[in-house]
Amino acid sequence: MLTTIFYILSTITLGSALMTILSRNPIHSAIWLVVCFFSIAGHYAMFNAQFLAMVHLIVYSGAIMILMLFTVMMMNFNKERQIQKKKIIVFAGVVSLCLVGYVLLAALLKAQPTIQEYYVSGEDYQSIKVLGKVLMEDYVIPFEMAAILLLVSMIGAVLLSKKDKKENKITS
């Protein structure tokens, strides 16, 4: 039962990730990416990490994808200008993909697990209560750093996308 759900979810995840990359239209890519994020939220829900699944849905599907779709909408590029890359570059991409996958899989699958006999301790470790305690006690300094990072990135985005009064165009 669980294994079947896992395989279905994994197929959706990998297929939609591939479709994100292979579809020509950026809007289709964005929509396939939303499908991919939803299936990853399904994986989180299968791990019983409810809070993480909800945060993932809200942040990724809600905020990030809307931002991307609005950007795609703002720059209406015509499809004819998108020439595909040269054959040799595509070939090099496929070769490096296979090599990276081979190296990662070989390294990760040869590793010996530290826990030989896996058992469920029954301890509560992923409810919102426990997560909040860990976040606010052990990781409070990274938490504040994350707040500063978000503030700085917000100011940076506003500054970058502001229109210059005297525009000096880069001629290419």
């Binding site: 950026p26 990853i40 931002l67 996958g101 990781y139 880069i170």
Partner: protein, 107 residues
């Protein structure tokens, strides 16, 4: 029922899934010329790593892995905001977001 998910599926399957997903992201960065799709591929890579972090958090039954996922999400949100602002600025200047046309630094 959900507590023993790793007993039933096994951590190996999650490792394979995350690795393949990360490789798809790498391929997208190398293959596509549209800068927005390159950003999306980076998101796919970040999500693969997040999934593996949650899997190992469940494996060790420790909440710290999930807290790290929150920080990764924060960094991803900041990265997308800055990246898209940069893209808009580039598009305003050269009227294209084809990454092969950004070669002003080439001598």
């Amino acid at each position: 029922m959900l507590q023993n998910i790793l007993q039933e599926i096994g951590i190996q399957n999650y490792i394979i899934l995350s690795t393949i997903m990360f490789c798809i992201g790498v391929f997208g960065v190398l293959y596509r010329r549209n800068a927005i799709v390159v950003l999306m591929s980076i998101e796919i890579m970040l999500n693969a790593v997040n999934l593996l972090l949650v899997a190992f958090s469940t494996y060790h039954q420790d909440a710290a892995g999930q807290v790290f996922v929150f920080f990764t999400m924060t960094v991803a949100a900041a990265e997308v905001a800055i990246g898209l602002a940069l893209l808009v600025a580039i598009y305003r200047n050269i009227k294209s977001i084809d990454i092969d046309q950004l070669r002003n630094l080439k001598g």
